[in-house]
């Protein structure tokens, strides 16, 4: 294959000096890899399978059957309830993030089929302000869950977030309750909810919907936890255990059902949804 030849020809010099961003340096194995190859492998390193952060649009294209995606609440944007200013006013910060990412906020929601199963899906995007959860993330996810409940569909949320959005204060905190309450009602109807944790899923997001899956799945080596490692380190003033707050750490401590490679995620999700929905027919 042409790409394989290109990969073998990969120069090992500083990738920053290469124009057009054709090459990437893998933060895990430190090898310089051809960007196209990484993209073909769903944003995973061809050398070591390191899972790079995946843009929400590409994630949806990967998980949902071609031509079936219908996006919901695409134009929902945040207000500025606190009138928050930190260096710049919050609305300006939002505009900047929108320009940077082409997204309106940190989650895309909608419906489509996944291996022919209709599902409601929410996918967070870390690139938008660290995937932080404010009113828009809370509202879009809640609407997605409520619509899934009404349509008797499974709900799936792919998380990627540093936690609640500070610039919306306690209103962000209340999105944890709003989304969790919607999931409680979805569960009451006997409908499955699957939570997929990607790098990173932390704090307020992890302490709400991300932890409430009937089945909880993580991508390999994702950072997952409640309190950030730096804060814990400062508090206990001890070395943290090897691999602390990784997917594998959570798995060992009984908090995950599965760790699944991104390449296999759609097939596994579809299979699990099939099993959990089978009893309803």
């Amino acid at each position: 294959m042409v790409l394989d030849r290109l990969r073998r020809a990969t120069p090992t010099k500083d990738p920053k000096k290469i124009p057009d961003g054709l090459w990437l340096k893998c933060p895990s194995c430190s090898k310089t890899v051809f960007k196209r190859l990484v993209e073909e492998r769903l944003d995973c390193c061809p050398e070591c399978n390191h899972h790079f952060k995946m843009p929400s649009g590409r994630r949806i294209a990967n998980l949902i059957d071609d031509g079936t995606w219908v996006e919901w609440d695409a134009n929902l944007v945040s207000g500025d309830p606190l009138g928050f200013v930190d260096g710049k006013p919050y609305p300006e910060r939002i505009k900047q993030q929108q320009a940077k990412t082409g997204l309106k906020d940190a989650v895309l929601c909608g419906t489509g089929t996944m291996g022919s199963h209709p599902v409601g899906l929410g996918v967070m995007d870390f690139e938008f302000n660290g995937g932080s959860m404010g009113s828009v993330v809370g509202e879009k996810l809640t609407r997605m869950i409520e619509r899934s409940t009404a349509a008797k569909m499974p709900a799936i949320i792919v998380s990627a977030s540093g936690g609640a959005r500070m610039q919306e204060g306690a209103i962000s905190l209340m999105q944890m309750t709003k989304t969790s309450a919607a999931l409680a009602r979805h569960a009451e109807k006997g409908l499955p909810y699957i939570s997929v944790l990607t790098n990173p899923t932390m704090a307020g997001v992890m302490a709400s919907y991300a932890s409430l899956g009937d089945v909880i799945i993580a991508e390999p080596k994702a950072l997952i936890g409640f309190t950030g490692a730096r804060v814990i380190q400062e508090t206990i003033k001890q070395e943290l255990p090897e691999g602390f707050q990784t997917s594998e750490f959570l798995f060992k401590h009984g908090q995950l059902d599965l760790i699944i490679n991104r390449q296999d995620m759609k097939a596994e999700l579809a299979r699990i949804v099939g099993y959990l929905m089978a009893g309803r027919r």
Partner: protein, 319 residues
């Protein structure tokens, strides 16, 4: 850096003077009552003035006052025939959350209260009010018990946050809090949450979902501590007073957002000056809300609880 309670100094000085005069009049038999009386009046005026102009940061400081009434004080002064109930039936008894049944007037209630500890030993046992996952699981177990026997739940919130630590992460701090939030949303009995001191983020929310959210005047409820916010946004923990202002974390501000239903006034000079009167005041407030909630069917109760949270947030459709 000023000491945390410098702003209370003028009141403390007046109090000292009054005490001095009273001692003098007792010791000498000379009546200085009128002078003491006028000082007492002045104290009341000054106190009202000071407390009506407190900054958000000063309220945060008061919420952390070492003498501020804790869950154990409310248990002692607000409830009768209290029966403490311990343990999560899975791993341990976390003393950072006290749970038990008592009578509030004639009304049996399940009390779930975060406890910081009053002396050095208790503080260590309570982990300074920072619960582990077993604390949240204990709270949920007792709330389930209350649900089964149709007993209303009173949650007293007072935590800087859930404990940051290796063991807490190993035992699923996130999962414990998340499951409480979800299960409290559908708990089939009235739930009233009261922020009695610090309402620190997810750690507060883990026992903080209910039909009513009440807050004491000098308490706060926030997504992050002012210190943490200042450190992240301005790389300067000293800007905590600015952070406290920006975060809109006090009762009146949170009431505007629909998060808090009522702000409970504290006795002159703050709750720590009169713990017993504060507890008696809370009892009356709780009984009033309980009467309202108990007039609803459980299904009405849960629908209203759902809608209370459903409408929180500020979004709009963009072009």
């Amino acid at each position: 850096m000023s000491a945390p309670f410098d702003f209370l100094d003028p009141l403390v000085k007046l109090e000292d003077k009054i005490a001095e005069l009273e001692q003098l009049s007792q010791a000498t038999g000379v009546t200085v009552l009128s002078e003491a009386e006028s000082l007492r009046e002045k104290l009341a005026v000054e106190s009202r003035k000071l407390f009506s102009t407190l900054t958000p940061w000063q309220r945060v400081q008061l919420s952390r006052h070492p003498l501020r009434p804790q869950s154990s004080d409310y248990i002692d002064h607000m409830l009768e025939d209290y029966v403490p109930l311990a343990g999560d039936r899975r791993f341990a008894d976390d003393e950072a959350i006290l749970t038990g049944i008592g009578r509030l007037g004639d009304q049996p209630v399940m009390l779930v209260g975060q406890q910081k500890g009053k002396d050095v030993h208790e503080r260590r046992r309570c982990n300074f009010g920072m619960p582990h996952p077993e604390g949240y699981r204990k709270a949920m177990a007792k709330m389930r018990l209350a649900e089964k026997f149709k007993i209303p739940v009173i949650c007293l919130i007072n935590t800087p946050g859930a404990v940051p630590g290796v063991e807490a992460e190993e035992r699923g701090q996130s999962i414990a809090i998340a499951e409480n939030i979800r299960d409290m949303a559908l708990l089939r009995t009235p739930v009233i949450c009261v922020v009695i001191g610090e309402g620190g983020s997810g750690g507060a929310l883990g026992i903080g979902v209910g039909d009513r959210i009440l807050m004491f005047e000098n308490s706060y409820f926030s997504v992050i501590s002012p210190e943490g916010c200042a450190a992240i946004l301005w790389k300067d923990g000293a800007k905590k007073d600015l952070a406290a202002e920006r975060l809109k974390l006090t009762g009146p501000e949170l009431k505007k957002f629909g998060i808090v239903d009522e702000i409970i006034e504290e006795p002159a000079g703050g709750a720590h000056r009169q713990p017993v009167a504060t507890a008696h005041g809370l009892k009356e407030v709780l009984l009033r809300h309980l009467r309202e909630l108990q007039s609803l069917t459980v299904d009405e109760l849960l629908e209203r609880r759902y809608q209370k949270y459903r409408v929180i947030g500020e979004v709009r459709e963009s072009a």
